[in-house]
Symmetry: C2
Subunit: 190 residues, 2 copies
């Protein structure tokens, strides 16, 4: 019993340390011995739990995706509110946004994550359903809406770093995100 | 004379090889000896021309920014057309988009590039001018427009890689980008 609790705690400490390291320097840049040092354990333990650095990244990434999905949810019939929640999540957890970007950059050809495939499919279905029910009105297709809403919700973080001084405060950034998504839903004005 | 031409050609070959390497694996992951091998020169020559790996990345990144700016330009009074050109540019040069993302991830606290600072400032001014002249009508502020338009123009590339099979063809992706930016300009519908 005690041993199981200790093992769980160690696993959690490794994941926390690895999240910070991967977010900071990516998969190629991450050093397992730095993660071990941060987690206060030895490298052998990390290999025992996660196999190798890629296995450790997969565990970190899956944990982030699950936390993200649980907190943000999805609302096909209120995409502006959904975009606001995506914005809030990544403002609170910038490390997670960096993980997502590293994942795109460093794993372009790798095996696909089951959880992400399922969520993509479920969201497209929900959007179709909302459209059929008339609770979503948009000229954009479901896949276009997913792409645009995601990009808009994270738009501020994709600006070049040279911009930082001219960027408005957090409430203003959030208002811009929600207002931009409001423009995508509802019939065309031209 | 001949020696200058050779030096120019060698420099160009190093930059081309380095662009591919940095785009693929980023700054931390890039190996100067791999770049030397690809460029058909020796490492010492790269250090002589560019100082170190960071200096080489700066040269690569500045060359990309200049090519991008020259080709895409800017149109404060026709942001949908501008977004279409940004889309076209990165569709044709996906390596350059990856460079831009690596730059954001790996250089968060570094010195700012003069050329980017100048372009940011010039664009904000152009947007203000277009607004004053009435050729740009939008509820969004200039900095909000820059952030949203950039994010929308590159939205497809920021989708999770699990999506690839459901993504529409290039003309449809482009139409979605241009139509989304059309929604940002023009008075609010609600």
């Amino acid at each position: 019993m005690r041993r199981t609790r200790d093992a769980e705690r160690t696993r959690g400490e490794i994941l926390a340390a690895a999240t910070g390291e991967f977010a900071k320097v990516g998969i190629a840049g991450a050093r397992v011995d730095r993660i071990a040092e941060l987690a206060g354990c030895n490298k052998a333990m990390i290999y025992a739990y996660f196999g190798n650095k890629d296995g450790l990244f997969d565990a970190v990434f899956t944990a982030y995706v699950e936390a993200y999905l649980a907190e943000v949810g999805f609302s096909a019939d209120d995409l502006p509110a959904y975009a606001g929640r995506v914005f809030d999540y990544f403002e609170a957890s910038p490390d997670h946004l960096r993980l997502a970007v590293w994942y795109r950059l460093e794993r372009p050809g790798s095996a696909r994550l089951e959880v992400v495939l399922e969520v993509n499919a479920a969201r497209l279905e929900e959007l179709e359903r909302a459209r059929a029910a008339g609770t979503l009105v948009s000229d954009f297709s479901p896949v276009e809406l997913l792409s645009l809403v995601q990009a808009i919700a994270t738009s501020w973080s994709s600006m070049n770093p040279e911009f930082e001084s001219g960027v408005p405060d957090q409430p203003a950034r959030r208002r811009a995100v929600v207002a931009a998504v409001e423009r995508l839903v509802g019939p065309a004005t031209k």
